[in-house]
Amino acid sequence: MIFEVFRQEKKGQAFAHAGSVEAPDAAFADAWAREQYGRRGESAALWLVPRESIHAVTEWADEFDLKYRRVDGYSIKERLRIARERAGTAAPADR
């Protein structure tokens, strides 16, 4: 079995993917990963996850055009220019 190793450097920090180990079960993976990723006290904690248990999401279709959820979904600058033109005003001076 392949176990993906996620390593936390300090308590409170995010776990980051650090590599993988091959082992017949979790107990062996535990011993193996401790040796590989902890023998100098460089890790606060490890997560060992069987590779099959990882459900990866990598495709990000945007069928419903969800850009109104993001800042780049709004064209304020252009609209503001038109609005000022209609109102006959200029941009306020920087204060």
Binding site: A18, E22, P24, F28
Partner: protein
């Protein structure tokens, strides 16, 4: 080159990184496997010259430090073989190709370790040359390889310190100890200068084209000379190359390394190539029951 491959090439050349499950051109996959496999082989074979000195180390502390270094290097081999396995080459096949001579390992691991001076020079200067290549791999376009390189580079920094400490103890010791260091440096300088490979322009290097490597061979060698020649000279040691000098432009000039020797050594004709492969073959056979019983568990 088809459109998809062209897009992939542009993506990695712009600094893009690839994960194991992503689509990749077959040529890229094969190049990454070849590179990664040679690196793993070098870590595995690279412990053999040092291992010979574990029993002969001068103090208990040195013995423990050397054992720790050997453990680190074997651990690197394990991590790197895992990366190659995920790209589709089974480990048994990699071991078979290593033993048959089909796959290579770095030139510096084909030479004997004559004295404790060699152990110091290997840990200091061979590891220094290696860390220059490995640091450049932190930016490798193949992300799983780049990620494990962080741990590897971190551990290599201990090895350089260990090597430097061994060398400093010897150059501050007796005349005999000093001579051992100078003799070892004389033996290792040639292989060290060959280590980063022939100076092909990086644009002609397929490993650079696909951004597997992020620097050219000559760039790496220049970085090694710039960093370490002053450190060697400050200890009163002599670099055995009368043509070695730093030009006004900061570029080091040196005698042409022996490329024929490099080629002969990495194709299995080095002074210790066959002994070490035979040793590795014996241990793979001897420990087969451990692998079999663990993987059958």
């Amino acid at each position: 080159m088809d459109t998809r491959t062209q897009e992939f090439l542009e993506y990695v050349q712009a600094g893009g990184q690839v994960e194991a499950g992503d689509w990749m051109p077959d040529e890229y996959r094969q190049k990454v496997i070849k590179f990664v496999e040679m690196h793993a082989n070098s870590e595995l074979m690279g412990v053999l010259p040092e291992r010979e000195w574990i029993l002969k180390a001068p103090t208990l502390q040195r013995k423990l430090a050397l054992t720790a270094k050997v453990q680190d290097e074997v651990g690197h081999a394990q991590l790197i073989y895992r990366v190659a396995e995920d790209l589709g080459k089974p480990r048994d096949q990699m071991f078979a190709d290593l033993l048959s001579g089909k796959a290579k390992f770095h030139n510096v691991f084909h030479y004997p370790t004559k004295t404790w001076g060699d152990v110091g020079v290997i840990a200091w200067l061979v590891d220094a040359a290696a860390i220059i290549s490995q640091k450049a791999l932190l930016k490798c376009s193949y992300a799983p390889y780049a990620r494990i390189m962080k741990k590897i580079c971190w551990e290599e920094s201990f090895h350089i310190l260990h090597g430097r400490d061994v060398i400093l103890a010897m150059v501050t010791g007796s005349d005999f100890q000093r001579e051992l260091v100078q003799e070892a440096l004389d033996r290792w300088w040639g292989p060290l200068m060959q280590f980063h490979g022939n100076p092909i322009p990086r644009d002609e290097d397929p490993m650079w084209l696909w951004r597997i490597k992020s620097q050219g061979n000559e760039e790496a060698r220049q970085q090694f000379l710039e960093g370490y020649v002053p450190q060697i000279r400050e200890l009163g040691l002599t670099v055995p190359d009368p043509n070695l000098r730093r030009g006004d432009d900061g570029v080091w000039e040196y005698s042409e390394p022996d490329w024929a020797e490099l080629k002969s050594v990495v194709t299995g004709h080095g002074p210790r190539s066959q002994d070490r492969l035979a040793f590795r073959a014996r241990f793979l056979e001897q420990e087969k029951w451990v692998r079999d019983s663990l993987l059958a568990a």
